[in-house]
């Protein structure tokens, strides 16, 4: 069972030498950190590696956390930096990341047409599929805004840009996501017909 203590209280206990407090902190944030990592890595293994790396880095730098922002905001900045480094490393090995199609999540695509599967697919499946087709920055902004409980100012802090720029980027990301969602749903309807 997860601790009811606040993030700051858990941090203080961790700094005092109680390692299990940090385990509670991980349990509390692991799903979001992993989801954010998935926006960059696409594969579960790579995403898990990024997420683990983030928590280890956060542990090492815990004493330097100033508490001027939320712990989650600070942690997401680490995730963003780590994921960007991962992406830069990947760019050397693979083709250009500017090509949006590179990020189409192969794993999320149905391997073959199956009538029953199509019928059972939920809206959330299509939403996740569409998010997987977005560029990492767009997917990150949308995820942080809707699931990370982060304000535009906090997202700006994580990404190191102005809050107004985040507002514009969020608007564009939502437009792109809407287009992808519509396109995917149209495609599935065609397949059904």
């Amino acid at each position: 069972m997860q601790s009811k203590l606040s993030d700051i209280e858990l941090i203080e206990q961790t700094l005092g030498g109680n390692q299990s407090a940090y385990a509670d902190l991980i349990k509390r944030h692991q799903r979001f950190v992993f989801t954010l990592a998935m926006r960059f890595a696409k594969g579960r293994e790579d995403a898990e590696e990024i997420a683990q790396d983030c928590f280890i880095k956060a542990y090492r730098s815990l004493a330097s956390f100033q508490r001027q922002s939320k712990f989650s905001t600070w942690l997401y900045s680490i995730v963003y930096t780590t994921a960007m480094t991962f992406l830069r490393k990947k760019r050397v090995d693979t083709s250009s990341i500017d090509d949006e199609d590179t990020f189409i999540q192969i794993e999320n695509k149905p391997s073959s047409y199956d009538e029953n599967n199509v019928e059972n697919k939920s809206r959330s499946y299509y939403l996740n599929q569409a998010i997987g087709q977005l560029l990492p920055d767009d997917a990150t902004i949308i995820t942080m805004f809707y699931k990370g409980e982060q304000s535009l100012e906090e997202i700006a802090q994580v990404l190191g840009i102005e809050a107004n720029t985040v507002k514009v980027k969020l608007f564009r990301a939502r437009q792109r996501l809407k287009e992808k969602l519509e396109r995917n749903l149209k495609h599935e309807v065609k397949e059904l017909i």
Binding site: F55, I56, S124, T143, K147, K167
Partner: protein
């Protein structure tokens, strides 16, 4: 000029001023295009909010904590060889090299055409050999052995961590 969608998103997010909020609310109530678009975006917004988070593997927390514990075990060694010692050694070598260079440069006779450097008496090889006495050499070798063991230990620890990963 903001598009209808942009205005409506700002309205939904609550990221516009109170006056703008009021003006958009009136437009939604009166203009059918605004009303239709607003309901469409509202539905989309609800869908985005209900987005599901991915779940890492069951061993995720355990793996992170294990890595942290392994690093903690190495902490005493790291503390023994702290950065101040390395800094001290660096300063020692910089000062020694700088003094030597300055001493050599100051011994050059810059006024004559002959730029050959005359080695001062203090650096005569016969004097230098006096410095390498038995205890000094033994001390130097002992220091080398300690450094060698330290490097070997670091190498083996790193190898062991990599193996665990």
């Amino acid at each position: 000029m903001n598009s209808i969608e942009e205005k409506l998103w700002n309205y939904i997010d609550g990221s516009c001023t109170a006056e703008e909020q009021q003006a958009i609310a009136i437009l939604i109530a009166k203009d059918e295009v605004y009303m239709r678009k607003y309901h469409e975006l509202l539905k989309l917004n609800e869908e985005f909010t209900s987005m599901e988070l991915d779940e890492p593997s069951m061993a995720f927390t355990y793996n992170v904590m294990e890595t942290i514990r392994t690093q903690h075990a190495q902490q005493p060694l790291k503390a023994a060889i702290n950065k101040h010692i390395i800094l001290g050694i660096t300063i020692f070598f910089i000062v020694t090299i700088t003094s030597l260079v300055m001493f050599v440069l100051s011994s050059v006779n810059w006024h004559t055409a002959d730029t050959s450097i005359t080695i001062p008496d203090q650096l005569n090889i016969n004097h230098v050999t006096n410095f390498f006495t038995g205890p000094v050499i033994k001390g130097f070798l002992f220091f080398d052995v300690v450094m060698g063991l330290f490097l070997l230990d670091t190498y083996l620890r790193r190898k062991s961590v990599l193996k665990h990963e």
